[in-house]
Subunit: 204 residues, 2 copies
């Protein structure tokens, strides 16, 4: 899909793609920027000593980029399934029961997608910190932009996890997801702070 078409779709009254897809796309942009910093460091004079680290970093950032891109679609699919469940008939008691089961199942699934975005964003933030540490100083602001977009992807996905949990009746499932998400968010925030400190000390 073209970039401008995607934005038209996002802005439209169709709720797919929505914020969950936008969060994953943010992650993909962040990963691409880490890759760019690596590609502009490899083979450059003065960076011979970190060639191995940067090479490994690039492999990891490209892997993350492609995983994020998959999540852009997966989020839209999962959300479409939730909406389909809400459209099921609800006249008889049996229908109501089936519909409620379908809503619960689809919503649980839809919660996993932004949670996965959060996990990947935390990994990405760790790579952005390394790119800030070892990357070409001339493009070091791009490592900082990667960290900024990575933490935004994480926080945006977290809003989606929270709203998706609302209709879920299984309190134990909710609690598990919230605990997991909060732990990841703490880890991600710390990596972000580190990455930005490193980058800012090199920009100024």
């Amino acid at each position: 899909m073209k970039l401008t078409e995607y934005l038209d779709e996002l802005a439209s009254s169709s709720s797919v793609p929505g914020g969950g897809s936008a969060a994953a796309l943010m992650g993909a942009n962040a990963a691409a920027l880490v890759s760019m910093v690596c590609n502009l460091t490899i083979g450059k004079k003065g960076y011979e000593d970190v060639a191995d680290e940067i090479g490994e970093l690039l492999v990891e950032s490209e892997k993350l980029r492609h995983e994020f891109v998959k999540l852009v679609d997966l989020d839209a699919q999962a959300f479409a399934e939730v909406m389909d469940a809400y459209k099921l008939p609800k006249t008889t008691e049996e229908e109501k029961h089936i519909r409620q089961g379908a809503i619960q199942a689809a919503t649980r699934k839809a919660t996993q997608v932004p949670l996965r975005t959060i996990e990947l964003a935390v990994e990405l933030l760790s790579l952005a910190r390394e790119a800030g540490e070892y990357g070409n100083k001339n493009v070091i602001s791009d490592a900082g932009v990667a960290a900024t977009l990575g933490v935004a992807a994480m926080e945006a996905a977290w809003l989606n996890v929270q709203i998706n949990l609302n209709p879920i009746v299984d309190e134990r499932f909710k609690e598990e997801i919230l605990d997991r998400g909060e732990a990841l968010l703490d880890e991600g925030e710390e990596l972000y702070e580190d990455a930005i400190s490193i980058v800012e000390s090199k920009i100024a």
Copy 2:
């Protein structure tokens, strides 16, 4: 350009597009999400009283979206001009003088683009807050995602302003830009905090 092609370009060893374009694209995504919240509020039961506000909000968010999209390209162009200036010959004193003048002019111009992204991001954050206040509660997380992406666009653009200012010798110009940027950042952070508080109080 296709979404996946854009990401390939971003990740590549070509430094255009870079972090400045990614920041503007982030802003475009944020604006598109405000538009989506508006489009999913207009005509919905229970939101008749805010129809006028939401209608105006939509006009403004669509305007911002298209301005952000233009900045994606403008940033790449401005950065290409900076690189062209650095490639000018520097053998004779006269050539050195011309080259230095060209670098200064191109870099000043390149600083204005992310500064414009920051200005638009602050406007966007104000719209995201309104979308959180008046928008359809079912898609309120998307107003929060818009605010999260908006603040990230602002901070990412700020890193670009800072790195672009580095080669500039005119201290007065530098100071003016830094003062303007810092004031905008303070304003934007406050709008972001407000928007997120409103959204989180409605999600939980």
